[in-house]
Structure formats: C-alpha cells, structure tokens
C-alpha cells in the first residue's frame, strides 16, 4: 500500500507538483486513518496532504483516478486487477429500458446506480480491445455515440427537477440542472473507461497518456480552448503569487528608516538599552515600464496574459504604460486605470483597442515608428521597454532604426517571442533584425517562462 503511495507521488512529481518529504509522510499517516475503500473520502484526505495549491487539484484528480482506479476495500494489491465488479445490469436489456433506468438514476441522484450504468455502458458500447494502444478519448467517443445523452437531458429537464415550468426562468433552471447531472454522468463514463485501461495496461502506462499539463506549463500558442480557459483561471492566482514574491524581494533589498516604537520595546529585554535597532520597511526607487504588444490573431492570447501579469505587478513600478498594435497602435493604459481587475482590462483590449489602421495584418515597422512617436519625451534612463510579439511582419519593412533610436534613450529593451526558437527568422519573421537593439530576446511560450522573466526584471 505504501508502495502504491510512493508510485502515486512519483507521478505527481512527474506532473510538476512539488511534494516534500514531510508531505509524503503526512499522506502515509492519512492512509492509516481513512481506508482506501472509502474512495471519495480517501481522495479528499490524500489531496489535503499533497496538494497545497488549488490550481493543481485537477491534475491531482486525474492522476488519482489512474492510480486508484476502481480500487475497493480488500483489493489493495498492486497487480492489474481492481475488477469493477458488476457486469452491465441484467442480461440483454433494450436500449430503451436502459435509458429509462438512466433517467431514473439521474433523477434520484442515485450514485451507485449511476456508476453501475456508466460501467455497463462502457462494457457494452466501447468495444474495448485488450492491448490496443488507443487513448480513452476513442472509447469515450464510441460509448457516448450510442447513449444519446441529449435525449436523456431533454427527458430529465421535462421532469421539472427545480419546479413547474410556468415561466422561462424556471425552464432554464430545469435545463441547467439536467445538464449538470448528465455531465456528472459523463465523468463517471470517463472513470469507467480509465478503470478498464488501467486494468489492461497498468497505471504507469495509462498515466503517460492522461497526464495533465499544469496551467503554467501549457504552450500558450498551441493551447486548446479548454486549456486556454484553465490558463485564464490560473492567471489571477499566478499573478498574485508573483506579486507577493516580488514585494518580498523588494522589501528585503534595503532597509528603511528607524522604527522607534519597535526599538524601544526590544530594548526592554536588555534593561532599556537599545542594543537591537529596528527599521521600517524601505521604499526603494522603482523603474518605469513601457509595454508594446502585438495583439493580432495568433499571438493575441499571449499578449493578453502578459499585459494582465504586468499590470498585476504594477506596484513594482513607479509607472506602467501599455500599448497594443496590429498595423496601428493604441495606448491601453486607461483600461487598466479604470478597474482594479487587470483581467477585465485585458479582456476589453480585444474588443475596444483601436489597432487597425490599414489591412489588419501586423506591421511591425509601422507600429514601431508610431510607438516611438507616441512615447515622445516620456522615457528616461529608468525606463524598461518590453516588446511582445512573433516579429512576423507580413513582409512589410522592418525598420529596426526606430528600435535603435529608442534604445539610446532608455535603460533596456527586452523582446519576448512566443514562438519556438526553431521558427524564428523563417518566412516573414524578422526577429534577427531587431535582436541587436535589444538587451535580450527571449523565447516565452508558457506562463511559467513568462513569470520567470517578469520576476527577473531588475
């Protein structure tokens, strides 16, 4: 059993969750307290000892389903097994009867019956083949194709779970509730498929194909819609994390003025002699930051996340100004000034910023020219300039001379490119022309890289 725990924790570490030795020990103690057979409770207490950041919980749950798939009291050995038990309820039953039973189970929220139904459906429709190296998605598709869950949802909402449908609000509520229950059933189908896969191939092999990427490690440019939604949610906690880390660093850097009250109090343990002088937190001089971001199609999400992150830590700077462009440039600092939620401001940019001056294709040369003009004299030797984009300029003139000119007047220019380095300078990418005028050009594809860069800003 403890071996199973070790293997599970090894998997969590492969995912990227930090698990310390003392947390491993706590998890082992938790296993002594709650039996593995009480699966949901067991999952809760294991998570409580191993996951200390709620953005990692999804990844934990996925790994848990694999490593503790279908295990019940009394089958704690490690070999493939953990038989799910019951075969599809009853012998041959018609599809109609089957779906009536499902609707009943959903209406009553009868969890054991639902689990059984999910296993039955997988048994019957997934066409499971031993040793066949396909992922869960294939079996999921085959199972759900037969189930017609839309019809089940319809019938479930007709049961008026929330109340008599005599107005459109209650009608909508009935439907939402039906959908919620059906989507829970789909989760149970996924679990049942996972059980079968693990039985067939063992946890390690299945984990390799189901492992979740932590939000901060997702490649922003190639993220799926779901992944982008996860990123969106992870961004706020991530930026808070970053903000507090930076604030801590800043405070440590220098010490502030004398703190009289603290000093006097401390002196009492030395008979009133102030041996131990206390200082207030310091207020060091902060740099200015100016951001210029390409928000054309392919790099739009990356720009949005970066602007969100930068403004979330705006306290670190004495001033932040943000500009976005496609083939025109617009300053968007005002969006961030109007709300205390940088996420909301970043959203507004997509719909409200005025960035198309000509044909709506990125034109870096024109953007740089206009940007330098708009900045005018409002830059100093304390200004750091951050440019975000793939430098794909649609074969327009690159005009690096504007960057060269700007560099003379500021502290540093950094360029973050969300494309893999291997693609740089192919096709219409002209990053090489800008590189000589930047302090550094960095590949930045994930929130983790972005966070590392932003926190390294001097």
């Amino acid at each position: 059993m403890f071996d199973l725990l070790s293997r599970f924790i090894a998997e969590l570490r492969r995912v990227g969750l930090p698990v310390s030795l003392s947390e491993h020990v706590d998890a082992a103690s938790a296993m002594e307290v709650i039996s593995i057979g009480e699966r949901e409770t067991f999952k809760s207490v294991l998570a409580a000892t191993l996951v200390k950041d709620s953005t990692y919980r999804d990844a934990f749950d996925t790994a848990f389903e694999v490593y503790f798939a279908g295990r019940q009291e009394g089958d704690l050995d490690l070999g493939p097994g953990g038989d799910s038990g019951t075969s599809p309820a009853g012998p041959e039953r018609s599809e109609k009867e089957w779906s009536e039973d499902l609707v009943d189970a959903l209406a009553e929220e009868n969890e054991p019956a639902l689990r059984d139904a999910a296993r039955g459906a997988v048994e019957r429709y997934a066409g499971f083949e031993r040793g066949r190296p396909v992922g869960g998605a294939y079996y999921r598709y085959r199972t759900l194709r037969h189930l017609d869950l839309d019809a089940v949802t319809e019938r479930l909402s007709a049961l008026e779970l929330i109340g008599p449908t005599d107005n459109e609000l209650v009608e909508k509520l009935n439907r939402d509730e039906a959908e919620r229950r059906v989507s829970h059933f789909e989760d149970l189908v996924d679990q049942a498929i996972l059980e079968r896969l693990v039985e067939d191939r063992g946890a390690e092999a299945v984990a390799d194909s189901t492992r979740e990427t932590l939000p901060e490690d997702v490649d922003v440019m190639h993220a799926t819609r779901d992944e982008l939604a996860d990123l969106e949610r992870a961004l706020a906690p991530l930026s808070r994390k970053l903000a507090s880390r930076l604030a801590r660093r800043r405070r440590r850097r220098r010490r502030g003025p004398l703190d009289m009250r603290h000093t006097v109090r401390a002196s009492l343990s030395t008979g009133g002699v102030p041996l131990d002088i206390k200082f207030r937190p310091p207020r060091p001089a902060k740099p200015d930051l100016v951001v210029l971001a390409d928000i054309s199609g392919s790099v739009a999400s990356f720009a949005r996340f970066t602007l969100h992150l930068v403004h979330a830590i705006s306290e670190e700077f004495s001033k932040v100004r943000s500009f976005v462009f496609v083939d025109g440039v617009d300053e968007v600092t005002r969006f961030f000034a109007e709300t205390d939620d940088p996420g909301v401001a970043a959203q507004r940019i997509a719909t409200e910023a005025d960035v198309v001056a000509f044909d709506g294709h990125s034109d870096y040369g024109r953007a740089l020219e206009r940007f330098v003009e708009m900045l005018g004299a409002d830059v100093t030797r304390r200004t750091t300039v951050l440019i975000l984009g793939d430098a794909r300029s649609n074969y327009h003139p690159a005009r690096p001379e504007f960057l060269a000119d700007l560099r003379e007047r500021v502290k540093a220019i950094y360029w973050l490119n969300p494309e893999p380095r291997g693609y740089w300078n192919s096709g219409d990418s002209v990053i090489a022309l800008y590189e000589p005028h930047c302090e550094e050009v960095l590949e930045c594809r994930t929130l983790r890289q972005l966070e590392e860069f932003v926190s390294s800003l001097p």
């Binding site: 706590d26 209650v170 509520l173």
Partner: protein, 309 residues
C-alpha cells in the same frame, strides 16, 4: 496506527497525555456540524477529521463568503470548545499575535525599585519584571496556554506580510512558543487550529507544509439549498431549491464577481421578507442587485437567464 500516530508523537514532545480523538469518523463530523447549523461538504468533513487525527492545522482557502470562518466557529461549537480568534491584518506583529511585555508596568516597577533605593541585584529585578505578571497574553499564546478545550482560528492569514508568517511556524508545528526571557511555553492540550485565506497572496512553503490544505469552493446546488433552508427560517422549500439553482447557473457565467454563499443567504432573506414562495423572472430581475454587485454582471445575468429566448 500506533507506530506512526502523529498525535502520540506530539503529545510525548509536549509531555502531556495523548488526548482522545474528537471524532469517530468523517460522517460523524458531518453530523456534529449539521447539529450546529453548519453543513459541510464531504470533503470539508473528511479534512476536519483528518486534521484532528494528524494533530495538524487546517489551511482553509477559497473565495470570500464560502463559510471558511464559519467552519472554525462551527467546529468549536460542535465540540464544546472555546473559539480563540486571531484576526490578521497588514502590520500585525508579535506583540498583537503572541504576547507583549507590559513595558509601562515594567518601567514603573524599575522606577519604584530605584526610588526605594533597592539593593536587590539586577538579576533579581530582571527575573521579576520578566515574569508572568508582566506578560500580556495575545491570542496565539492564549490558545497554547489554555487549560480548557479551544479551537484556534487564525483568520485571513493572507493579509499579514510574509515575514510575519514566521511568527506562526513554531506554534503550527510544535504547539509551543519560545519567549526569550521566559523560555519555551508548551501547549497543555492540542487545540484544533484553522487558518483561513482568500488567496490574495501566496503563502510561504514553510507554512503550507505544516498544514493540511482544504479548498472550500461554492457548494453544489443541493447543499446550497440545504444551507439556505437551515439559515433562513420560514423559507419555502420550493423557493430555496430555485434560489440555489439560480445561483448555481449564475456562477457558470463569466462574471466579475460570482455570488458567494453569504450573498445567496442575503438574497433568500430578501425574498422571504418580500413574501415570495417561488421564483419568477420578474421577482429575480427586481432583486438581482442583492446577489450581484457589478452592473455588468447584472446585465450578463439578464441576458443569460431572464431574457426569454
């Protein structure tokens, strides 16, 4: 679990008898809390049970108004313990959290000694002014030294600066406080400890390692309905069901600020006062502002739920 039993190990270090566990099972936690009108999810009950068995603090994190503070209060009430609360804020320091020497009194004592032309040595005097008599006990020390059963709540720990967190570490792992002038004060019993956080700031690894972690999210519609019926006397079941469901549906929308459980309860109370027994689009539209704080969120709710297609 003798060999690994963390409670036994801790009790030995503290030099006290191993206390009896507070709960028999997670299910019993659920029942006890329901007995004081707090309805935990099975996860909340499980982690509370675990924390007692491991003798570890619980770090409860989640959005505002989801019952984090209420959980600690409910555990205290359900176990017949006194709730000792440390409310955190920016600038909280040792003297407000742990203890403080009553230095006015100490100075008076020193001056009194001078005037009387005391011949007593400095070391006598020192021993005197750094004794219990001159010590002002703050919540953390109070919880440690309490002879009666207590639940310690360190509320909104994310509000203190990260340096201040260090003050908590010794208590959270060893249930003791070191006072340079007095020595180490050890707990006389093992209190249950809850820390709450809205995650406005990342807490230190050191703090998180010492705690078991509990994320409290929004309840599912069924539990929220039960919370509403428990907390709002006289509400019609039908109305409570519809309220919970409406709030659930609203939380699926991309709102700036999703409604919290406390806002659900406010809304339910409003509807009861207005004499409603069920929910319709007009009633909902007129009272939505109790639930949603931003105009843009209200508009989004109208669009999604109240504008019949």
């Amino acid at each position: 679990m003798s060999a690994l039993d963390p409670r036994q190990a801790l009790a030995e270090r503290l030099g006290i008898e191993v206390p009896a566990p507070r709960f028999d099972s997670p299910a019993q936690v659920g029942d006890l809390l329901a007995g004081v009108d707090y309805l935990p999810s099975s996860e909340i009950a499980a982690v509370t049970f675990l924390a007692d068995r491991l003798a570890k603090p619980v770090l409860v994190e989640g959005p505002a108004g989801t019952g984090k503070t209420a959980l600690a209060a409910a555990v205290a009430a359900a176990t017949g313990s006194r709730l000792i609360r440390l409310q955190c804020y920016e600038g909280l320091d040792e003297s407000k959290a742990l203890y403080e020497w009553n230095y006015r009194k100490q100075l008076l004592r020193i001056q009194a000694g001078r005037r009387a032309d005391e011949t007593a040595s400095w070391s006598d005097l020192e021993e005197d002014i750094f004794s219990d008599d001159f010590l002002l006990t703050r919540p953390l020390l109070e919880a440690i030294t309490a002879p009666d059963p207590v639940v310690l709540l360190i509320d909104e720990v994310d509000r203190v600066e990260i340096e201040t967190e260090a003050l908590l570490l010794e208590i959270l792992s060893e249930y003791q406080v070191s006072i340079p002038e007095l020595g180490t004060v050890r707990a006389r019993q093992i209190p249950m400890v809850f820390l709450t956080s809205n995650a406005t700031r990342e807490l230190s690894e050191a703090l998180k390692r010492r705690c078991v972690f509990l994320h409290v999210g929004y309840p599912d519609p069924e539990r929220e309905r039960d919370i509403v019926t428990t907390r709002v006397p006289g509400i019609a079941t039908q109305l409570a069901t519809q309220i919970a469901q409406m709030v659930y549906s609203l939380r699926q929308l991309p709102l700036r600020k999703a409604p919290s459980v406390s806002e659900t309860l406010d809304w339910a109370r409003t509807l009861v006062i207005l004499g409603h027994e069920e929910l319709g689009p007009d009633v909902a539209a007129e009272t939505l502002h109790v639930l949603l704080k931003y105009q843009s969120d209200i508009a989004a709710a109208h669009e999604a739920l109240l504008s019949g297609e």
